[in-house]
Structures are given as C-alpha cells and as structure tokens.
C-alpha cells in the first residue's frame, strides 16, 4: 500500500483559499462558539429571570484579584503562543519550543490557581453547584473552560515534545499546525475574556 500525502497542509486549497487545517480549525471553533454560546444564553435567561434574587458580586465569594491574576496569565500565554508561531515562521525551532513550553507552564499556573485558590476554598465551605443557580452556572462555565485548558495543555505538549519531529521533515507543515493550535488557544483566552467580567465583576 502506498503512503498517501494529506493534500493542502501547507499551501492554500484553490477552492477555500486557506490550507485545510486552518479551515478545519475554524469550523471546530464555530462549533465551540455554539457550545459556550448556549451556556451564556442560559446564564442570561436564569440571571434576568432571577431579578433581585441573583447574588451581588459581594455575595458570590469570588475573588476579583485572583480572577484578574488568572486573566493576565491567560493573556500572557496567548502572547507566548503567537510568539512561538512567529519564531517558527522565522526558522527558529528552539525559540519556538521555548515559547510553547512557557505557554504550557502558564496554562498549569492558571489551573493550579483556579483549583487551590478558587475551587478548593469554595468546596471546603460547602459551595457546591447544587447550592444555588449562581454556583451551578459558575462551576459549569468555568469547569468547561478549565477542561479546554487541559485540552490545550495536551495539544501544545504534544507539539512541544513528540510532535516537534515534524519540523525536521516539513517545517512549514509544523508551523501551520502551531498556528492552528494557537487559534484554539486564543479562543480559550477569548472565552475567559467574557467569563471574567460576567461572573466576577457584574
């Protein structure tokens, strides 16, 4: 059996105008918008419906300084992700991998801060999803977002270690795969950009 090469991984497809991995990633992200969109829509319905019964942000026990810190962590990780792509585009694999490693590190920082300083104290005080509609929304939305962070760690970790071999066979293909990974990672950052003010600040 002859090995077939996946077409249009580097050059744009004549019909779509982009390499196929990028179109695939954007289609996936469109489905992700619907997934998170459904949760935001549900949140609006529940919150508007609850009226004055909805807890104020003083009553929710969410820490704004910790939320702000994690927001900055994700923003910096987005910059390092895109710097990894730029370094690879300029032919520098070691610098690209360094930026990928920093991105993974920052993703772990986000998760550890979330778990130790946000989830854990709430669980100890008995604030569980079943306690109120607010906590049900909070844990569902931030929990799904945290799962996406874990997914990002797996994918970036793959391209940082075993996946980096591809660079030696086809550097452009590898660079494009990092761009697609970056698209996903920036989307995860983008979701947090909305989650943070919606849950912590308003």
């Amino acid at each position: 059996m002859s090995a077939e090469v996946l077409p249009y991984t580097v050059h744009p497809h004549p019909l779509t105008g982009v390499y196929s991995g990028k179109l695939g990633t954007w289609l996936f992200l469109a489905s992700e918008v619907m997934l998170f969109g459904a949760l935001f829509s549900t949140y609006i319905l529940l919150r508007v419906g609850a009226g004055d019964a909805w807890p104020t942000h003083h009553e929710t026990h969410l820490s704004v300084p910790i939320g702000t810190f994690n927001t900055m962590v994700l923003i910096i990780s987005s910059v390092t992700m895109v710097m990894a792509w730029a370094s690879l585009k300029m032919g520098n694999l070691s610098k690209g991998r360094m930026y990928l490693a920093i991105t993974v590190l920052l993703a772990f920082v986000f998760l550890i801060v979330k778990l130790i300083w946000e989830y854990w104290p709430k669980w100890q005080k008995g604030h569980m999803p079943a306690e109120s509609t607010f906590y049900a929304c909070y844990f569902t939305m931030t929990g799904l977002h945290a799962l996406h962070i874990i997914g990002g760690i797996v994918v970036i970790g793959y391209f940082l270690l075993p996946g980096a071999k591809l660079w030696h066979h086809d550097p452009e293909y590898y660079t494009n795969r990092i761009e697609c990974t970056g698209l996903y990672w920036h989307f995860v950052d983008l979701v947090w950009i909305f989650l943070f003010p919606v849950l912590y600040l308003t």
């Binding site: 954007w26 609006i44 319905l45 923003i75 910059v79 710097m83 761009e179 920036h186």
Partner: protein, 119 residues
C-alpha cells in the same frame, strides 16, 4: 498572511501592542466595576470592554486582520448569525405571555397540591 521575515517582525510588533492594550483594558474593566453606577451600566461597560478585548485577540492573535481566505469569513458569518440567535433566545421566552403570567413565571417554589379525598 505573513511570508517574509519583515512581515513576521511587523506581526510581532502588533502582538506586543495588543498585549499592552489587553493588560490596560483588564485593569480598566476591574476599575470600572468599582465605580458606583447602576447595575445596567456596570454590565454594559463590562461587556463593551470585553468585546473590544475579544476583537483584538481575534484580529491580531488569530490573524483575522490579515486573513484573505473567503471560506473562513463565510464560516464566521454563519457562526455570528447563529450566535446572535442564541443570545436573543432569552428575550424570545417573554413573547406571547400575558402580563399577569410573567409576574409569576419565575416563581419556582414547589406548589404541592392537597391530596384528593380518599387517597
């Protein structure tokens, strides 16, 4: 899309500028949440700042500013349309409901009917 080193260098400058803007807007949104204004205005300010931040991420970090592939713009157009419908669904729930019903529609207190005689 970036081809030469010079193009990528331009990108890097844009990334750093956007990073500065995102950091500044994060501080701004936290500061704005502490100002004494109505709840409605709080939500509006927070969402406007979040939308600006999200647009910067999508345009520069996700390369949409330089994107020429028509298929991606079509994908985003349909995505935006369906997203808009999703966001409008909560307001659709208030259509065709008599005013006296809307006053009680959010009362989720369980109403237990008295057991029928003989049961």
């Amino acid at each position: 899309m970036a081809g030469s080193h010079a193009d990528v260098q331009k990108h890097v400058r844009a990334y750093l500028l956007v990073f500065g803007a995102l950091a500044l807007l994060t501080v701004l949104t936290v500061a704005a949440s502490r100002v004494e204004v109505s709840q409605r205005l709080h939500i509006t300010i927070a969402l406007v700042i979040a939308t600006i931040k999200a647009s910067l991420v999508a345009a520069i970090f996700m390369h949409l500013f330089w994107e020429r592939g028509a298929s991606i713009w079509w994908t985003l157009l349909f995505c935006a349309l369906f997203f808009a419908v999703l966001m409008m669904l909560p307001s659709f729930t208030r259509f065709d409901i008599p005013p006296q019903a809307t006053e009680q529609m959010w009362d989720v207190t369980a109403k237990v009917a008295a057991p029928a005689p003989g049961h």
